[in-house]
């Protein structure tokens, strides 16, 4: 107690009671209110990249990543069995595009596009996402090939669209020029044509990525390991369409 303060006994009893009652009311009020889980319908229209840049006040790298965390909270929980299945993918792609434009060197938007948002059971929505990944790949092939490599696998095993998978594989081979692009990625076409199921293919790609040192982030490693476990648990053995 400092010399500027009087003893606690100096506070009238009714003020003690009022303080305790107000605190209890606050706890009760907050405890009975529903949580702030965001649904698919809550996803607002995407801002433009210029608006995001203006709102970032010169911190595009931080705001791009925070925007991704904001975006991934939509339709993640709630009454849906599969996360993100009810999202408006046109709106979602607009958001992802704005975030990529805000910080083109961040891998988060394309990681989420390829690994998370392509898990949707609706083939039309998956195609929207694959098309977005392909468009973004064309802007910077040497740094974005691995997302298109995964998109090729999704096209083959989920959409059973071999021509689309081969188009993506050919694009990686044709457009990447950096020395650190591994050989297996350049030869994706052969890999796509091989008679592998999704689990085998995912294991080969993941092994290649780990070997090349492209995946270092602990959160991403955890996510990919979990994804492989899920595929194994699902017993994925998708019939591979022959050309």
């Amino acid at each position: 107690m400092s010399r500027d303060e009087r003893s606690l006994n100096a506070v009238p009893r009714w003020i003690w009671l009022a303080l305790a009652a107000c605190l209890a009311l606050q706890f009760a009020w907050r405890a009975t209110r529903p949580g702030a889980a965001t649904t698919a319908e809550d996803l607002p229209p995407a801002p433009t990249a210029a608006a995001l840049r203006l709102a970032s006040f010169g911190e595009p790298a931080a705001v791009a990543r925070l925007a991704m965390l904001y975006l991934q909270a939509f339709d993640l929980r709630g009454t849906n069995d599969v996360p993100y299945q009810r999202l408006d993918y046109r709106r979602l792609v607009a958001w992802l595009g704005a975030i990529v434009d805000l910080d083109p060197r961040s891998e988060y938007p394309l990681f989420s596009s390829a690994r998370v948002y392509t898990e949707n059971p609706d083939p039309a929505k998956v195609r929207v996402m694959l098309d977005f990944i392909y468009r973004e790949f064309l802007k910077d092939p040497d740094h974005r090939w691995r997302w298109l490599a995964h998109a090729a696998l999704v096209a083959k095993h989920r959409l059973h669209d071999l021509p689309l998978a081969l188009r993506y594989a050919d694009a990686i081979d044709r457009l990447t020029t950096a020395r650190d692009v591994p050989l297996w990625a350049k030869q994706m076409r052969i890999f796509i044509l091989e008679d592998m199921n999704e689990l085998q293919a995912a294991k080969v790609i993941l092994g290649g990525l780990l070997e090349s040192g492209a995946v270092k982030d602990p959160a991403e490693l955890r996510f990919l390991e979990h994804h492989l476990e899920e595929l194994e648990a699902r017993g994925v053995a998708t019939p591979v369409p022959r050309r």
């Binding site: 911190e59 991704m68 991934q72 060197r105 982030d217 959160a219 991403e220």
Partner: protein, 254 residues
């Protein structure tokens, strides 16, 4: 010891005895705690996310703490007639102003160093060192702005608001200019006038969006030329604020 150095020492002593060290510690704990939480929900780039979030938050905290402290300290001295008492001493007005500012700049440098240290958890030392030096220069500019506005406006809310307004506008001006220069905009006379007005306002502001960039911590150190340009820009603007502050202080009838 010169009078200016003694004044600077007293400014630092005042900051140490105020609650500022505790607020700096609380800012560090809050930034690290929030960054750790965000890393738990991130699917990828968790390390980059922690570095970027912590750097952005601590940069804002450093600037706010310096501006608020400078305004509160200066205005308290004016209200308590301490400034008038100091002016009766055989110390020139220039030495008095520069001494106080020197203390605030040193305070900003200490805060910048404290806020840079945790970033070593995620970023290479060279990048952190460049970031810290740039933040120290940025807080020096903010201290000069807050001291100028405090002496001119003589109201705490007005001084902090003016400093914050200058800072936020300077950080957003690059984005505002790029929006104004958008090729999608109609090339009307009104648009051209608006664009010229924005460019004119930009001439009066420092390029704060080019300084203390989070990119340096995540994607690697900047080129020597761009880093030097950013720091020289800050230094020139700080000198402009000091000159303006000295002009006003010498003109004032105290």
């Amino acid at each position: 010891m010169p009078a200016a150095a003694i004044l600077a020492r007293f400014v630092l002593l005042e900051a140490r005895r105020s609650g500022l060290p505790w607020i700096v510690a609380a800012s560090l704990v809050a930034a690290l705690g929030l960054a750790a939480f965000l890393a738990q929900v991130a699917l990828t780039e968790s390390i980059a996310l922690q570095a970027a979030f912590c750097a952005a938050l601590l940069r804002a905290c450093a600037v706010f703490l310096v501006a608020a402290h400078v305004a509160a300290s200066t205005l308290r001295e004016i209200d308590d007639k301490g400034l008038e008492l100091m002016l009766t001493l055989p110390v020139s007005r220039t030495a008095h102003y520069l001494g106080r500012l020197g203390g605030y700049i040193a305070l900003g440098a200490v805060i910048a160093l404290c806020f840079a240290l945790p970033l070593l958890l995620w970023s290479p030392p060279a990048a952190v060192a460049l970031w810290a030096l740039s933040l120290a220069a940025e807080t020096a500019l903010v201290a000069a702005a807050a001291l100028f506005f405090s002496m001119v406006l003589v109201q705490p809310v007005s001084a902090v608001a003016a400093s914050a307004g200058l800072y936020i506008l300077a950080r957003a001006m690059g984005a505002i200019q790029s929006i104004a220069a958008s090729p999608l905009a109609e090339p009307t006379l009104a648009h051209r006038l608006a664009r010229w007005s924005i460019d004119a306002v930009a001439l009066l502001l420092p390029r704060l969006d080019a300084a203390t960039r989070t990119d340096w911590l995540i994607y690697g150190t900047p080129s020597g030329a761009s880093y030097a340009a950013a720091l020289i820009g800050l230094l020139l603007y700080a000198l402009l604020l000091v000159a303006a502050g000295l002009f006003d202080f010498h003109r004032r009838n105290l």
